[in-house]
């Protein structure tokens, strides 16, 4: 797949060059997620993200990369309807996103969850099965079976009755992943699923993601971990308030695009492209002669 960049296509936006260009107003159902000309911001402030256009094709993993403050979490919240966009549209499976809520699962960052609140791992995963507010609602046996299956899938069965807050950081991420899986949704939005995980746990998580995609589910994952994105994503969207580039990892994860995305000169070693071709993960370092920042 050829890389598409804002630079290459001017102010018209990259959506014109997305795969299988669509006529205006038409939303292709083959896309699990279709984001069109999305602008979002907070009252009294300039837009946090502007002119966002990209798609998540059904049955694919799309990685969303960008520096801190690039608007990744804001974009997620806009897609989920937690922040009202200034303008633009978001469709999931051909429907406006608020109508497709049951088919979207969200895994937030660890910091967004109150781990001190006393709930068990099973309680947390059952939350993924929630459908609508109604008095005296109960979890059904189907819900409980789906939760147990999801917990087993992330290898936490022996912790199922443990208080979620007692688990380690990696286990907590797996709990949230199980909750997203238990929802049974076609589209999973994962916010920084690899942060703070060691290589072995990352590997386990990547295998889980691979299994989900093989079931036909679609995934949009925001991450700082370029090597994970390179090895597991079908497509990558580079974001820094706008979409800097979109395309296959081999095309997008280049020194030039990453330097523009992260506003600094980056050197790739490994290289990332090799990881993108399916070889063991590459790695990425900041150019020592440039800004002297830490590695990613």
């Amino acid at each position: 797949m050829r890389m598409r960049t804002m630079h290459e296509h001017g102010e018209a936006g990259n959506h014109e060059l997305a795969r299988d260009p669509l006529p205006p107003g038409h939303v292709h159902e083959e896309y699990a997620l279709h984001v069109h000309d999305l602008w979002t911001g907070y009252p009294g402030q300039p837009p946090a993200i502007e002119e966002i256009n990209f798609n998540v094709p059904a049955g694919e993993i799309v990685g969303l990369v960008g520096p801190n403050g690039a608007g990744k979490s804001t974009l997620f919240k806009s897609i989920l309807g937690l922040i009202k966009p200034i303008r633009g549209e978001v469709h999931a499976f051909g429907k406006p996103v608020h109508e497709a809520r049951a088919d979207i699962a969200y895994m937030p960052q660890l910091e967004e969850v109150d781990w001190n609140f006393p709930v068990s791992v099973t309680d947390v995963v059952l939350m993924g099965r929630y459908r609508s507010a109604r008095p005296f609602g109960r979890w059904t046996w189907t819900d409980r079976e789906a939760a147990a299956e999801a917990i087993e899938r992330v290898a936490l069965t022996r912790f199922a009755d443990r208080q979620a807050g007692e688990l380690s950081g990696g286990q907590r991420r797996r709990v949230l992943m199980a909750r997203a899986i238990a929802r049974g949704a076609g589209l999973l939005l994962l916010d920084e699923p690899f942060a703070g995980l060691d290589a072995a746990v990352q590997h386990d998580l990547l295998e889980i993601l691979d299994g989900l995609v093989q079931e036909g589910r679609s995934i949009l994952l925001a991450t700082h971990d370029l090597s994970c994105v390179a090895s597991c994503s079908d497509d990558v969207v580079c974001l820094n308030r706008r979409v800097i580039a979109e395309g296959s990892p081999a095309d997008v994860l280049t020194e030039e695009v990453l330097s523009r995305t992260f506003d600094r000169h980056l050197l790739t070693i490994g290289p990332l492209a090799a990881a993108a071709q399916g070889s063991p993960r590459g790695s990425l370092v900041f150019d020592e002669h440039n800004e002297g920042g830490g590695g990613t």
Binding site: P108, Y130, P135
Partner: protein
């Protein structure tokens, strides 16, 4: 054996003691259930503020000859909504907003009371609690508010837990998060009013916090913590009531001291158990 029986049952030869026991059991159930959210969401200061804010409602109702408990309820619910609204604005810190609402409402209450030249013992029974002054209508009011609170928590326990644990995710699956965040504050306000006449403004927050905090040392899940908190609050209430009756001391501080003693004992026992577990 007979002496113990007399110690236990003699007080209930008096109707006011039977009413006191009934209202304290209602307070224990509501306090234990709502207190679990107060402790685990760090809302202790909100509970204290809501308790003190009732003084304004009590004073206004008293001066105008209206139902004092209703005045307390309106003041507490209005303050709860005010706290929720101020929190949403995000322009001052949550603690600061609560602190300002708290002192404003409490000052208003003191101002109104001080404007009356005559001594107002009925008002002071709300400040320090007057378990023996609980009337049948007070008991009925507490029972109705308590039943309403319990039913609501039971009906929407999934939503309340989701909003407490992960509000962002809850919003994405269709839980009206803002509504339930306000409701939680209103539930605390109602729990405060249920306990107000028996325990008093000054100590009412203790009945929300102490049993739930003790229960949190013994259990790790919301429902079990609630259950333990209700039992601990009921034990504290009954023991405190008996101490008060036999030793002729004020009831609400006796109840709170028993609850605090149970907390201290539980803390020591569970700490030793953890040390043994860790060392084994």
């Amino acid at each position: 054996m007979t002496e113990i029986g007399d110690w236990l049952f003699d007080p209930y030869a008096f109707e006011f003691m039977r009413r006191a026991l009934a209202v304290l059991l209602i307070v224990s159930v509501v306090g234990g259930v709502v207190g679990t959210y107060v402790v685990h969401k760090g809302l202790a200061f909100s509970g204290d503020a809501l308790a003190h804010s009732t003084l304004a409602g009590v004073a206004i109702a008293f001066v105008n000859g209206a139902n004092v408990s209703l005045g307390a309820l309106i003041a507490a619910v209005a303050t709860a909504i005010g706290i929720g609204w101020t929190q949403r604005q995000g322009r001052v810190s949550y603690d600061t907003a609560i602190g300002i609402l708290f002192v404003a409402m409490f000052s208003l209450g003191i101002l109104i009371i001080s404007s009356r030249s005559s001594y107002t013992p009925d008002l002071f029974s709300f400040v320090f609690g007057n378990i023996l002054g609980v009337s049948n209508s007070d008991l009925l009011g507490a029972a109705l508010l308590g039943a309403g609170t319990l039913l609501f928590v039971l009906a929407f326990r999934r939503e309340l837990t989701m909003v407490a644990y992960d509000p962002a995710m809850a919003a994405t699956v269709g839980v009206p998060v803002r509504f339930f965040q306000y409701v939680l504050l209103v539930l605390i306000a109602v729990a405060v009013v249920v306990a107000l006449k028996a325990i008093g403004i000054v100590l009412v927050n203790a009945i929300l916090i102490v049993p739930a905090a003790t229960a949190s040392l013994l259990a790790r899940q919301v429902q079990r913590i609630m259950l333990f908190a209700v039992v601990l609050a009921a034990v504290s209430s009954v023991v405190g009531l008996h101490i008060s009756f036999h030793a002729n001391v004020a009831t609400s501080p006796a109840i709170v001291l028993v609850a605090c003693a149970l907390f201290a004992m539980t803390l020591v026992v569970t700490s030793r158990r953890r040390v043994v577990t860790a060392g084994s």
